[in-house]
Symmetry: C2
Subunit: 307 residues, 2 copies
């Protein structure tokens, strides 16, 4: 039940209304790995880092069953670096610095040992890189999920359209869904996007939860109301990791099981935002996760008696 | 199982991205009555109108079991009139015209025939008017629910604080909850507001659903994702009407039953926004309502198997 996760392993410097960090470990594939490894083993990582990425972080990931054969280490360059400042509502943020560094030359190679993986998570990267990974798979995975962002819609729409035809699930936030579909209503946006290739669309709405669309069905997962969203960095990737982890663990790609996977992803994301970076994800146990999922059950359960 | 509903019966002229109306019937108590009368009979209305309020609307309400003994008709003045324009996201709106007309002299009198009502819904009005109605009740109703808005927080905070101590449930939107509590986090806002008097707080978040807070418990009701929100006018009042209608019908004021009442309210609100004004609320049947509630059950249901 292996899962390949492709994405960045990087450094972030973050400012929120609650505080500020110097450069700390981040990157989409880092968050996916920390979340998914609670559910599935191995998580087969594909990424690129510079000489500066900490060996202890690599070891921590290995301890959790994350395979790093597909992580290229460039000895004479730095890792990807992003710095940003969040607004009070934590939905908006300003990018302060983007240093591509090693990411400028990222040309991922799928190791032979990864072939045959049943599940593939494509983090937000250039559509060309996403296509290259899919094309390297000798056997198409059972489920391919991709993330993307408005940046690629602006500069690489033809490539994005191509990769959309190759995947099963698209994972975007609400403003990205609106931009991609040119529809304001998310129901209409979903209809348009499901015509572009993916059979499933997940729309992340931050503190307002997430929606799953498939054919004429829709599922609404709430976000857990939190006292403080301390740092939202990585929450979307952690959600993706929880989602994919549950799917890979259960090997069930039905709509019904995707609903459960979204709750698992939401639970994982709710931990992520409690501390800076992936800190909280390294602390939690299976018991913590089960308890959090139980809170989601409580949060939305109600009784209806038709008379 | 009678319910008193206090609020405006008025005219609105509405502009949305989908169209525009001349003056049509509106007002908070109108929406509450159309929604609640599906569940409880009588709905005992307290309001004030001018000579121009249509007799056929009064008759339509009576047909549905709405008692109008508490509706004062002022023969030489016009009814309250509001005109507004909604933004594309339908959450924001600009007020174009507010003509208080009869509302400037509204001094509601609770008819003797209304005494003994078990449930009281106080629509958004000046806190002084809300206090006056509560004080006129010889026996305190089993449940008092109030709506309010930022306007009263700006100009009548001491009165608002007084009425908050007299009610059981406060119903506001997210920005109002934030203003009232001076807290951005809705969880923190709820903690502050629950210290101000009400034992329950309902935070309406429009297309993002609604939250119910009580002591350390929280419930998240989704909004039904809709292709188009045609006209949001009255959606909050319709929600309140559905909520109160269900509570009055079941006479159960437990947290558990309030959760169900919020789903009923959300279902009623989802009809309201489908057409201009209360049009859609006059068309729907019990079967339509049951079917819509069933859609909410589907929308949020998921399975978790802990291993």
């Amino acid at each position: 039940m292996s899962l390949i996760s492709v994405g960045t392993m990087a450094f972030d410097a973050i400012e929120t209304p609650f505080g500020k960090t110097d450069s700390i470990v981040g990157g989409s594939a880092t968050y996916v790995a920390y979340a998914a490894s609670n559910f599935v083993n191995p998580v087969q990582q594909i990424s690129i880092v510079g000489y500066d990425f900490p060996a202890e972080e690599m070891n921590e990931l290995k301890t959790r069953g994350v395979t790093l054969d597909g992580v290229e280490i460039v000895p004479d360059k730095k890792s990807f670096f992003w710095s940003g400042r969040y607004h009070m509502d934590m939905n908006g943020r300003d990018t302060l610095v983007t240093d591509l560094n090693v990411l400028a030359d990222f040309n991922p190679r799928v190791p032979d040992s990864y072939q045959g993986a049943e599940f593939l998570m494509l983090g937000n990267l250039s559509p060309n890189i996403q296509i290259s990974v899919i094309e390297q798979m000798k056997k198409r995975p059972k489920l391919i999920v991709m993330d993307t962002m408005n940046f690629w819609m602006d500069i690489a729409m033809p490539d994005l359209e191509k990769v959309l035809k190759m995947v099963d699930v698209l994972l975007v936030n609400d403003s990205e869904a609106r931009q991609l579909s040119a529809q304001y209503s998310l129901v209409k946006a979903a209809k348009e996007i499901l015509k572009m290739g993916p059979k499933y669309l997940i729309v992340k709405k931050g503190e307002h939860g997430a929606l799953l669309f498939h054919a004429n069905e829709v599922f609404y997962a709430p976000a857990l109301p939190l006292e403080d969203v301390f740092d939202p960095t990585g929450a979307g990737d952690t959600f993706a990791g929880g989602f994919m982890g549950h799917i890979a663990k259960t090997k069930d790609i039905s709509f019904n099981n995707m609903k459960t996977a979204i709750i698992v992803g939401s639970a994982m994301a709710s931990f992520c935002v409690e501390k800076f970076g992936p800190t909280r994800l390294k602390e939690i146990t299976k018991a913590d996760i089960d308890e959090r999922i139980q809170q989601f059950v409580q949060l939305v359960s109600f009784e209806i008696n038709f008379e």
